[in-house]
Symmetry: C2
Subunit: 347 residues, 2 copies
């Protein structure tokens, strides 16, 4: 029997901070999702609010209310916060869930296993997805990746919370539907929650071992699954001041190509709208990726803030300007993306 | 009284793996250095072997021999290893030093405090410079750096072990000699060993907090010292496959300018000579740094493998080719470097 879960999105469902919740609703998910806690939408269907497609997963106003209707085995924190700190409001819900015997699943940096009250209450146990692994368990980059023949394709983005993981999952499904064996290497806690088998939590890894852990995940994945394509979930952005990332996927994992997520309506790096932190230009990003040693095969739009006509127009303009295919995977599905990848693969 | 130390460089003195030892001999050093253990050079003067300048610091064949002549308070591991693992040969010397009551100072990832035998013997204690700090003590990037008016200058490099820290220290001294208040932010354990006050160990920090810890160090440094120039010690290289680094110094610390260390005679990334891991081109690196948001003000040569005439010729050629000043700080001293910086500073 598949384990089941309640997701906490307390008051943040309609924001990029709930991207973990969104990903689990969209699926796949390691757990069967029985409900989402967010008082703003109590009584509504979570899928409907997400993208207009009912999924039979209700919103509840609190954990108590949810437990009156459902019997989940797990309680997942479905929101990310800047710096990964646990908000007080969430902690109250966690105490209720812990008391009810649910296993708590936490993707924040702040570890629930450091919280004595939660630990003593949580008879069901705690999974801290971002608990740092000790140095002795981490692997340094060795160059073994150079022997993996399956091409790696990195899904990078111009910012955080811009659809990188979602696009990687759409691509995997699309490739598989066409009979191309493909795997996604997760680099964030949500990927693990979605049931991905190979990967590591990039931002909770000691810096010196990020490249080695990425290499290890890819090498293991190739050895066990023999995929024809390996998709790499990117993190952050190459020039995000709060934590630039991406060169590891190009220089250490040797990504042959890049699918670049871009949000045309977003001007500032997520979470830093009040500062002088504008997202730099797309043209520069393409050149930066080229200099790092890879190539953008396709641009994938995160269309939040644009209506359908607007996003279609932007896609057309960008395609003309950069001479690179521009897709809108959530609107169009993954077919064109898959086509872009297949055109580039060795036959 | 200044504490004193013996450095272990066992058999690696004449390699880039002993760059910590070299830095401490060149100075400054948090501890007075009484001797260097390396049987290859027993009886010789360490400074003489380093750069032809006697410093009255002898080589010893073993810790036992050293302790027959000296009474240090500390024993420093003066070598780095790929992946930061402790070689067995070093462990024998550490056991002797621990038994003699010396405090052990370790910059390797492998923690001496995890070694039960060493812990029980080391009555003098253990300092593990790369012991990861827990998440709760780490700071996320906030943008506070934008309020620091002192310009940051990043000393980056085309590879590891190429003179970044040394050049930063030479620059600091040169600027201070001319009355310019300047500080170096350390990002590696050797910087701490050299007595630097502000910084953090970049590669032993959880990835998500690297930018925030860098910001914290700079903000603290500015608040307490009011420097006119803040030099940032770079780590690794922008495209080093074993662990690319550098965008943090440009995008998160907002380095106004870059001094770029280059080793003309080195073709492959250090430690990966047997793999297809050639150091990419200098022209690309200059463009990469520009796209990341900074500018190379000067190129600084690590001339290992070239004689004086050769390195001078290379410097002249590179200067003509790139239209950027090229200096050889170990040969010339820091004057020209200081001049380059001063020309660019707001008056």
């Amino acid at each position: 029997m598949k384990e089941s879960a309640l997701i906490l999105a307390n008051g943040l469902f309609d924001s990029v901070f709930a991207k973990t919740t969104h990903g689990l609703l969209r699926g796949p998910s390691r757990y069967e999702i029985l409900g989402v806690v967010d008082p703003d939408y109590a009584g509504e269907d979570a899928g409907h609010i997400l993208d207009g497609r009912n999924r039979g997963i209700p919103f509840y106003s609190s954990v108590s209310e949810a437990l009156a209707h459902q019997t989940p085995t797990h309680c997942i924190i479905g929101v990310a916060t800047v710096g990964g700190v646990l908000p007080d409001s969430l902690r109250v819900d966690l105490l209720t869930a812990a008391s009810a015997g649910l296993q708590l699943v936490n993707g924040l940096h702040q570890l629930l296993s450091d919280d004595d009250e939660l630990v003593s209450l949580a008879k069901g146990g705690i999974i801290d997805l971002r608990k740092p692994r000790p140095t002795s368990e981490l692997q340094f980059w060795s160059g073994e990746i150079l022997l993996v023949p399956a091409p790696r394709i990195a899904v990078l983005g111009m910012d955080c919370a811009i659809g990188k993981r979602t696009t990687a999952m759409i691509l995997r499904e699309g490739l598989r539907e066409q009979g191309v064996r493909s795997e996604v290497i997760y680099t964030g806690q949500t990927g693990w929650l979605q049931g991905l088998k190979y990967g590591f939590v990039f931002d909770a890894t000691l810096n010196d071992f990020v490249s080695g852990e990425l290499e290890r995940a890819i090498v293991e994945c190739y050895r066990e699954e023999r995929p024809e394509v390996i998709l790499l979930e990117g993190q952050s952005a190459l020039r995000n001041p709060a934590g630039p990332a991406g060169p590891e996927l190009i220089c250490s994992a040797r990504a042959a190509g890049v699918i670049l997520q871009h949000a045309p309506a977003r001007l500032h790096f997520e979470g830093f709208e009040d500062l002088d932190c504008r997202i730099p230009s797309l043209s520069e990003e393409l050149e930066l990726i080229r200099l790092l040693g890879s190539e953008v095969w396709g641009i994938s739009l995160f269309t939040h803030g644009l209506d359908d006509a607007q996003s279609l127009q932007v896609a057309t303009e960008l395609e003309t300007q950069h001479e690179i295919p521009v897709v809108r995977p959530l609107e169009e599905g993954g077919e064109r993306l898959v086509h872009i990848i297949r055109q580039r693969l060795p036959s």
